[in-house]
C-alpha cells in the first residue's frame, strides 16, 4: 500500500541499523522489524525500516509466470492493441 521499495543490504551496522543500496544510492535504515538478514539480502524498505526480506526465488518464479502468461497469449494469436 504505502511507498515501499526493494533495496539491497550492503553493510550491517551497530544495533539494528544497516546500510542499503538501490541503484547506487545508499541509505541507513533500521532492521528492527526483521530477523536473520545478511549482507547481500534484499529487503522491502518503508519509512526507514525493512518490513520483510524479499524471497529471490519467489521473485524469479513470479517473473517467469508473467513471461509464460504472455507467451501463451502470443501463441494463441491474441495481441492487445497497446
Amino acid at each position: 500500500m504505502c511507498l515501499a521499495i526493494p533495496v539491497r543490504v550492503v553493510e550491517l551496522l551497530v544495533g539494528d541499523a544497516a546500510l542499503v543500496d538501490v541503484g547506487g544510492v545508499r541509505k541507513q535504515i533500521s532492521l528492527a522489524l526483521v530477523e536473520d538478514i545478511a549482507v547481500g539480502d534484499y529487503v522491502i524498505l518503508h519509512v526507514g525500516y525493512a518490513l520483510q526480506k524479499l524471497d529471490a526465488e519467489e521473485a524469479e518464479k513470479t517473473l517467469a509466470l508473467f513471461a509464460e502468461m504472455g507467451a501463451d497469449a502470443i501463441n494463441a494469436g491474441e495481441h492487445p492493441s497497446a
Binding site: 500500500m1 504505502c2 533500521s30 518503508h46 520483510q52 524471497d55 513470479t62 504472455g70 497469449a73 497497446a82
Partner: protein, 383 residues
C-alpha cells in the same frame, strides 16, 4: 534497479494484456476494487487501464490513510502545533509537530492545513521516518515533540519501534498522536454497505501489497469465505497488478472465491510475526473510530496501550475529538467507497483541484481524485 525494473517491463505487459483479453468473458463485466493507495497510483501512473479490455472496471477503494483521516483529527494536530506555539497554556513548552509529508496539505476546518499552520508560525516539521521524530526529541530537550502517526498496518510497526526506543532512552518530551487504522475492517465496511442505487456490485479485490507483508494473507480469508469474493494480493509494480487482475478474472470465470497471493516474493500466509508482536506490545484496539467516507467503524483503529501512556499525545495534551463534517459538495465519502467516480463529483476539477483541494481524495497523490486529475482527466475531455 533490481526487483523494480523487471516488474515494469512494457514488453511483458503486452503479453499479460493479451492474456487478460483472451480470458475475460465478453458477456460479463468484472468490477474489481483495488484497495491500496499505492495501487491506485501505479494504475494511474502507468496507464494500466489502457491495457485492459473495456469490460474490466477498476474501482478505487479507501486504502489511502491520508484520505480516510477525518478532518477532526487533523484539526487536533493543527491545534497542538498552533496553540501551544503561542504559549497559550502556562508552563507547557511549545510543540514541534513531526509529520510525514503526505499530511501537510490536507485541508481541515477553517481553511487550515498543517502547511498553512506552519505559515502562521506553528513548528511543523516534515520527516521521512519515525526515527527522525525521535531524533528531534533528543536534539530539542526543552520542546515537546509530537509525532503525527498515520498509516495502515505497513506504517504501524515503525511507530511501535519508535515508542519502544523512546522508552528505552527515557525520553520525557516525545509522544505520538496515534491515527493508525486497520485494513480488514475497511474492506468489511465496503462489503457490508447496503447497495446504493447506481453503485457497482464489486466482484473481487486486489489486496494491498505492503500491508500484506506485515499482516500476511490470512486476514483476507473471511472475505473469501463469508462474502464469497476473491482476493488476490498484488505486488507494488504494474506487472504485479496486471497479473493479479488476470488471476481474479480466472477465479471469477471459474466461480471460485479464494485468497491468492501474487506477491509471493514478500508475502506469506502468516506475515511478519516479529512486526505483529511489536505492534501488539504497544497498541490496542479502539472500540470505535471515525473514518472519512466510511463513518464510524468498530474495532478499526489502534490506540496506545496504558502501559505506554507516557508516550500517548492524546493523554498528555488532553486531546478531545470533535467530529467535523465534510464540505457539503464533497463526494469523498462516496468515492472512497467506490460508489462514485471522481468525475461524478460536482466540484471535481473546478472548485476542487490539487491546488485547492476540498477533500482528502484530492490531496493525497494516491487519492482517487488526485490520481485521476493528474493522470487521467484528459480522457474525460477527449470523450
Amino acid at each position: 534497479m533490481k526487483y523494480i525494473d523487471e516488474f515494469r517491463d512494457g514488453g511483458v505487459a503486452s503479453g499479460l494484456a493479451g492474456a487478460i483479453s483472451r480470458l475475460a468473458d465478453p458477456a460479463r463485466g468484472y468490477n474489481i476494487m483495488e484497495f491500496c493507495g499505492g495501487h491506485t497510483h501505479a494504475i494511474a501512473r502507468y496507464g494500466i487501464a489502457d491495457l485492459l479490455p473495456p469490460n474490466i472496471r477498476l474501482v478505487h477503494g479507501p486504502g489511502c490513510p491520508v484520505c480516510v483521516l477525518p478532518i477532526g483529527r487533523i484539526d487536533s494536530a493543527i491545534g497542538l502545533a498552533l496553540d501551544l506555539q503561542r504559549g497559550a497554556v502556562a508552563q507547557r513548552p511549545s510543540v514541534i509537530l513531526a509529520t510525514y509529508a503526505d499530511c501537510l496539505r490536507v485541508p481541515a476546518a477553517a481553511g487550515l492545513s498543517l502547511q498553512k499552520a506552519k505559515a502562521r508560525g506553528a513548528d511543523v516539521r516534515m520527516i521521512y521516518s519515525s526515527s527522525d521524530a525521535l531524533k528531534l526529541a533528543q536534539e530539542n530537550p526543552q520542546r515537546q515533540v509530537v509525532f503525527f502517526a498515520i498509516g495502515f498496518e505497513t506504517t504501524t510497526p515503525p511507530t511501535a519501534v519508535a515508542i519502544l526506543e523512546a522508552q528505552r532512552l527515557g525520553l520525557s518530551n516525545f509522544s505520538v498522536f496515534c491515527n493508525h487504522v486497520l485494513t480488514p475492517p475497511a474492506i468489511a465496511a465496503i462489503l457490508d454497505a447496503p447497495a446504493a442505487s447506481g453503485a457497482v456490485q464489486l466482484d473481487g479485490f486486489i489486496g494491498p501489497a505492503h500491508v500484506s507483508t506485515v499482516i500476511g494473507s490470512r486476514p483476507y480469508e473471511p472475505f473469501a469465505d463469508r462474502y464469497r469474493k476473491p482476493v488476490v494480493i498484488a505486488g507494488f509494480e504494474p506487472l504485479d497488478v496486471m497479473q493479479a487482475i488476470l488471476m481474479l478474472v480466472r477465479q471469477l470465470n471459474q466461480g471460485r472465491a479464494e485468497v491468492e497471493n501474487e506477491f509471493t516474493r514478500a508475502v506469506t500466509r502468516e506475515g511478519n510475526l516479529k512486526a505483529q508482536a511489536l505492534v501488539a506490545e504497544v497498541f490496542e484496539l479502539r472500540e470505535r473510530f471515525e473514518w472519512r467516507g466510511l463513518g464510524v467503524l468498530p474495532h478499526s483503529a489502534l490506540r496506545i496501550k496504558p502501559s505506554y501512556a507516557a508516550f500517548d499525545a492524546e493523554r498528555r495534551f488532553g486531546i478531545a475529538y470533535k467530529s467535523v463534517p465534510d464540505h457539503k459538495a464533497c463526494e469523498c465519502g462516496a468515492i472512497l467507497r467506490g460508489v462514485k467516480r471522481p468525475q461524478e463529483c460536482k466540484v471535481f476539477g473546478s472548485v476542487c483541484t490539487p491546488e485547492n483541494p476540498i477533500g482528502s481524495c484530492m490531496v493525497s497523490a494516491e487519492g482517487a481524485c488526485a490520481a485521476h486529475y493528474t493522470y487521467g482527466r484528459f480522457k474525460d475531455l477527449a470523450a
